[in-house]
């Protein structure tokens, strides 16, 4: 409309003087030279800081002069600067999550799952079914220490003081050789010996185990007295012995989920993993046998990253991290000794069932897995 005034209005628009443009261009080229040169000098972490400082100086010069923010309306500077504010928020929050979140720690005291007690009416009375079930559970949970036949001669037994109970003898049972009292042992463990609490097992499983180990003895078990029931916290007048006192425990599914070893899909190209997933690659696919052994025998206590910490299933026991500073990781020989014999006085059982080549693979596997750990 007012075309005659347009020319005038443009007069206050800043025009970048050629001299200034050349000076800025020259400075930018000089700074490029500087940053390449300094990168060649080893300043440690300072290299990164210097490079970013130089880049930011260059970027500021470009924005202020070539893009004319210096003479432009201030709101445009504010708009542009805002993007960097949001970028900073993006970066800081992501870093905090990724680098500082730490491990998920579950306080067992907060997770009290009540055990509903036995589903049987009178689980303290032995039946062939319970004994058979107990035998099955025994072969999974107990053989490492008590041996396949319950003679106290499992692969880990040699390392344990006191030695694990021989169930074929009726002498020396700490809590007494009656189903209710064995049930109590299973629930509470026998501190300070290596006998841990198995309260995380369902009550029926513990009753089955009790009947099985008592059945191994040379004589029939004595009848339970009212006092025995009381000691074991079982009420014989209620179906199933009444509900058990609330046990501080973590739901088994949750615990297993925490300790799950992610399946390694060998067909999947390892390079396709996202960065955070790539951590799993470190306990890589090729050593599948070692990975299998680890998940069979080690992961329950040492966790899927070899970090140790608090074993969830076996109560609050500090478990060693498997890093290079650990005594048993110093050589193949030391490693074999620890794995085969276990650690006397500790919860580390021995695992005698693996061949020397399997142990060699496992050692390498654990080394690889924990290479990134700091030595504690």
């Amino acid at each position: 409309m007012e075309s005659h005034s347009e020319k005038q209005k443009h007069h206050h628009h800043h025009i970048l003087p050629t001299r200034t443009a050349l000076m800025i261009g020259g400075t930018l080229l000089f700074l490029t030279f500087v940053t390449v040169w300094i990168a060649g000098v080893d300043l440690g972490r300072l290299n990164f800081v210097v490079a970013m400082a130089v880049a930011t100086t260059k970027a500021t010069l470009v924005a202020l002069f070539f893009m004319n923010l210096y003479n432009d309306r201030k709101e445009n500077s504010v708009i542009f600067a805002t993007s960097f504010v949001f970028l900073a928020i993006f970066f800081v929050l992501t870093s905090m999550d990724l680098f500082f979140r730490g491990k998920v720690v579950v306080d067992p005291k907060l997770m009290t799952a009540s055990q509903s007690g036995s589903k049987l009416a009178q689980p303290w009375i032995s039946t062939p079914e319970l004994v058979a079930k107990g035998k099955e559970i025994f072969s999974v949970q107990c053989v490492a220490c008590h041996g396949v036949d319950g003679q106290g001669n499992g692969p880990a037994a040699a390392a344990l003081v006191p030695a694990p109970r021989n169930f074929h003898s009726d002498q020396g049972w700490k809590n007494g050789r009656k189903p209710t009292l064995v049930f109590k042992t299973l629930k509470e463990g026998l501190a300070p010996s290596a006998m841990a609490s198995y309260a995380s097992l369902p009550a029926d499983d513990r009753w089955a185990l009790s009947h099985y180990v008592v059945s191994l003895g040379p004589t029939a078990a004595l009848a339970d007295t009212p006092e025995d029931f009381k000691k074991a916290g079982v009420n014989p007048n209620q179906a199933g012995g009444g509900s058990e006192a609330v046990v501080a425990t973590i739901p088994v599914e949750f615990a297993l989920d925490q300790m799950e070893v992610k399946p390694v899909e060998s067909e999947r190209n390892p390079h396709l993993y996202a960065p955070h997933e790539a951590r799993w690659l470190e306990r890589g696919a090729p050593e599948s046998r070692a990975a299998q052994i680890y998940s069979e025998s080690c992961v329950e206590c040492h966790n899927s990253k070899g970090e140790g910490g608090i074993s969830i299933l076996r109560g609050s026991v500090i478990v060693r991290a498997l890093n290079a500073g650990s005594e048993g990781m110093k050589s193949q020989e030391a490693f074999n000794r620890w794995v085969i014999q276990g650690l006397p006085g500790n919860l580390m059982p021995g695992f005698g069932q693996y061949s020397s080549s399997e142990l060699r693979d496992l050692y390498r596997y654990v080394q690889g897995m924990t290479a990134g750990h700091s030595v504690d």
Binding site: M1, E2, S3, S5, E6, K7, K9, H10, H13, I15, L16, P17, T18, A21, L22, I24, G25, L28, L29, T32, T35, V36, A39, N47, F48, A51, M52, A55, K58, A59, V62, A63, F65, F66, M67, D72, R73, E75, N76, I79, F80, T82, S83, F84, F86, L87, F90, F91, T94, S95, L98, N269, P270, H271, P275, H276, A278, R279, L281, G284
Partner: protein, 216 residues
């Protein structure tokens, strides 16, 4: 030499009170667009930060395989092109059409130069199997995660390269309109805004170069 009178007269759109309002609004629109660009590249820069934070050794080993010399040459090329672009804008503002044409052509040629260097760089990477993700076949780098670095390298430089291509397109477009004499002291909004875009492309490279090639 043309003396500042534009051959074609620009009429501002009717919803603006004046040509000046139109100019300011267009410029602000461009700045807001550049904000979205910062955030788009920002995602990749954050990814880079995470990768470097998680695997500093891997990133360090992998970055050594990038050609610093080529990266530095491209930095010089891009900065010089930014300078010629700035000069093209000021020439247009002063009504020096012929100079503006020369500067725009130079800017365009520098952009070509940048892509040629990039072509040689990429070819060398392809040849050595330094490819992103599943196609990574290089055996020199022992860490299997190295592919992640090259995924990011190609993603970042590739997205930047696409910006260079688009930049060449819009530079060619304002060059054509400059030759037709559509711009002058009264109206140069497209030249200035294409300039912003081109400086932004330079700005991204100013960070990409040290992060990928120098301190990785």
């Amino acid at each position: 030499m043309s003396n500042g009178e534009t051959a074609l007269k620009h009429h501002h759109a009717h919803h603006f009170a004046s040509a000046d309002d139109e100019f300011e609004a267009s410029k602000q629109g461009m700045w807001i667009f550049l904000v979205t660009e910062v955030l788009m590249f920002g995602g990749l820069f954050v990814a880079y930060g995470i990768l470097k934070g998680l695997y500093p050794e891997m990133v360090h080993e992998a970055h050594k395989l990038l050609a610093v010399k080529m990266g530095a040459i491209n930095t010089v090329v891009l900065i010089t092109s930014s300078l010629t672009m700035a000069l093209a804008v000021s020439s247009t503002q002063k009504g020096q059409r012929d100079r503006a044409i020369v500067y725009l052509v130079m800017t365009f040629l520098f952009a070509c130069c940048f892509l040629v260097v990039k072509y040689f760089e990429y070819s060398a990477k392809f040849h050595h199997g330094l490819l992103p993700g599943a196609n990574f076949t290089n055996e020199e780098l022992k860490d299997p995660k190295s592919a992640l670095f090259f995924s990011l390298y190609f993603m970042m430089t590739g997205l930047h390269g696409i910006h260079v291509l688009i930049g060449m397109g819009v530079i060619a477009w304002v060059l054509r309109r400059t030759i037709r004499g559509e711009f002058g002291p009264n109206f140069y909004t497209p030249v200035e805004l294409v300039g912003f875009y081109w400086h932004f492309v330079d700005l991204v490279w100013i960070y990409l170069f040290p992060l990928l090639y120098l301190v990785g």
